[in-house]
Amino acid sequence: MRAAYFRVMALDLWRDKGALAMAFLLPGVVFVIFALIFSAAAGGDLSVRLALLDQRQTVESGKLAAALTARPEIAAVTTVDASAGSAEELLNLVRSGQVDAAVRLRDNQTAFSALGAADEAPVEIVFDPLRSIAATIVAGAVQTAWMEALPGARIRMVAAVIDQALVPFTDGQRTALELGLQRWDSTPPSPLPPAALFQLRSTSEPGAAPASVSYYAGAVAMLFLLLASLNGALTVLDEKQCGLFDRLSMGPGGVGAMIEGKFSFLVLQGFVQVAVIYTVAWAVFGVDLPGHWAPWAAVTLAAASCSAGLALLFVSACGTRQQAQTLGHIAVLLLSAIGGSMVPRFLMPNELQGAGWFTPNTWALEAYEGIFRRGENLLDLGKPLALMAGTAALGLLGARVLIRRAGR
């Protein structure tokens, strides 16, 4: 009997091409889009379209502009000719979104080595608050270009700090330093020795997929698991409204077999759905699915069961399809927003991160993060696995009780 319910749901889904695409195609596509956006944003591949205005028109400003233009994080440069109104033109380029940020080399007599307030700085970075990340990237690029193109300016600035704040130079020392720096400015400077202040070390293994990709695989999987489970569970109400429920509940399995048959189908559908997403993540982005298949399968089975149980419980508690559909979609969106399926949990305030533990999205995401980023095994994943399995069992039991009560 349960197998018959399973077959009915499978055939129904197979012949409903829209629902089929929604269940298995759309999640993969949405995941790829998310992964491309966020792996670029978090993985250091973000590049900026820049507008550049050199109002100073000196040898130094030319060197700085050339070094800045050559930076890898600057994707394209729109050069604005210095003239009256060119500063306004620069602002408009940023406002209109034609460039992500702009750099103006001011003609304000402030040396590139000067110490002073920001409003007197020789370089101005113009940015749109909607793309403030671009300002940070350009600031870093200007800093690096300044050190590469004008090493003398860098030393003059350090010397000025020493002179003013630590040990005042004598006139002789100042003269000797300036002569040395002028000689250095007139000849091509040899590269400065590298500064060994820090070394960047990633928590990911070399060649591993960006962390954001494995995160979004789980995040998108949970969002679509909940949606697909809800849509599948809605067939309970369809069958109730058209009278099939009364006919089918006369079978020896009663409503229990109906709920269990649908539950089994939703679990398998969910498992395949998540498998599709992670297969894409492995094939396209290098997420190490084959290396973690056993814990991944356990977590995916628990997540699919949890979604199916919750969806059946929710639908059984609703009176009509319209009510279940409307409230269900609101619930899925809220769970996904709080649980981390839309925005990474680490970007959330602490209170929201705590609230996330009341959602299945967080349980599954924490488990997937444990597998793919922290290399945890099944024993380490006890808490999220227990939460998901428990919710699945409670959902299934509750749905049976509610449906039986509704059938009286």
Binding site: A4, Y5, R15, G243, D246, R247, A257
Partner: protein, 313 residues
């Protein structure tokens, strides 16, 4: 086979059924009639075991159907709405629903092959149920109620919204099933169908059985020596003194005008040959009379009488 004894049911304060008693044997067709809100659906849900009576006994072959799947599997339920999976073929519907209704896996193919010719859908077995015509879907709806070999078939308004050809086919199917010994209970508002098909009647009004038993005997017993008289007058100008006299005579005989006053109908007690006297009197108005019909009271007349508020059983 099916027996109901003094069955009561209510929804909160609303009394739905009061002391309903019925008997239905193998090979009988019973029409359960009654106006909307009479309690037919509640009674059917009690018989099919979806609800439990508050008091009284319902038994099918000696066992109570409520939550008793051993009994319920002997009931074929054909709801008024077409309840099938539109994206499954006719055969897939039958196969899967028969499994859900408890048919053993090895018997499924045989049941499908058996039931399809019964409803005339052999050549549609690979067609999607949603692509069938309305009449064919209704036939499949009946087939789904038969596929598990029930001994009692319960049909709710089986001919509602069905064209005359499909209706004739459905009636043939029901007679065929009756001949095979199936007990059939059908609720309907189509009195012509009930009159034609049913050999047992049960008229439910306000939760009580107003009349029950073999169709002919129920009607005859209810009306006893009454005859149903229908008279059509010829169209004459209003104000004609002979027409007024004729209408007065009809009214005083117990007939009532229908519509514009040219159609008169009523039940006349014939114990003292009143019908003969009426026909005789009508001869005096020969030129005004177009048609006189006298017949035994119909099911329609019975329903009109028992459904009237305050009508006695």
């Amino acid at each position: 086979m099916l027996s109901l004894a003094d069955v009561h049911y209510r929804y909160g304060a609303h009394v739905a059924l009061q002391g309903v008693s019925l008997e239905l044997a193998e090979g009988q067709i019973m029409a359960l009639l009654g106006p909307n809100g009479a309690g037919k659906s509640t009674l059917v849900s009690l018989i099919t075991g979806s609800r439990r009576p508050l008091s009284g006994q319902i038994s099918l072959n000696g066992q109570r159907p409520w939550r008793n799947h051993a009994v319920r599997r002997h009931i074929g339920w054909v709801p008024q709405t077409i309840t099938l999976y539109p994206r499954l073929t006719v055969e897939e519907n039958l196969r899967n629903i028969s499994r859900i209704l408890g048919v053993r896996r090895r018997d499924v193919s045989g049941r499908v092959d058996e039931v399809l010719p019964l409803v005339g859908l052999e050549d549609k077995r690979r067609k999607l149920a949603g692509a069938l015509s309305g009449g064919q879907q209704r036939l499949l709806n009946v087939a789904l109620g038969l596929v598990h070999h029930p001994t009692l078939l319960v049909l709710d308004e089986p001919t509602a919204g069905v064209d005359s050809a499909a209706r004739r086919q459905l009636k043939r199917i029901l007679r065929n099933l009756q001949a095979r010994g199936l007990a059939i209970l059908l609720t309907t508002h189509e009195l012509e169908d009930a009159d034609e098909l049913a050999d047992q009647l049960a008229i439910l009004v306000g939760g009580r059985i107003r009349a029950a038993g073999p169709t002919g005997r129920v009607i005859a017993g209810f009306f006893q020596d009454k005859r149903e008289v229908n008279i059509t007058l010829a169209a004459r100008a209003a104000g004609d003194s002979r027409l007024a006299a004729c209408q007065h005579m009809l009214r005083s005989s117990g007939l009532a005008a229908v519509g514009s006053g040219h159609q008169w109908t009523g039940l006349i007690d014939n114990r003292q040959r009143q019908v003969d006297h009426l026909v005789h009197a009508l001869l005096a108005f020969d030129a005004l009379i177009r048609e006189v019909r006298v017949r035994d009271p119909s099911l329609d007349a019975l329903m009109n009488v028992v459904s009237r508020p305050g009508a006695a059983a």
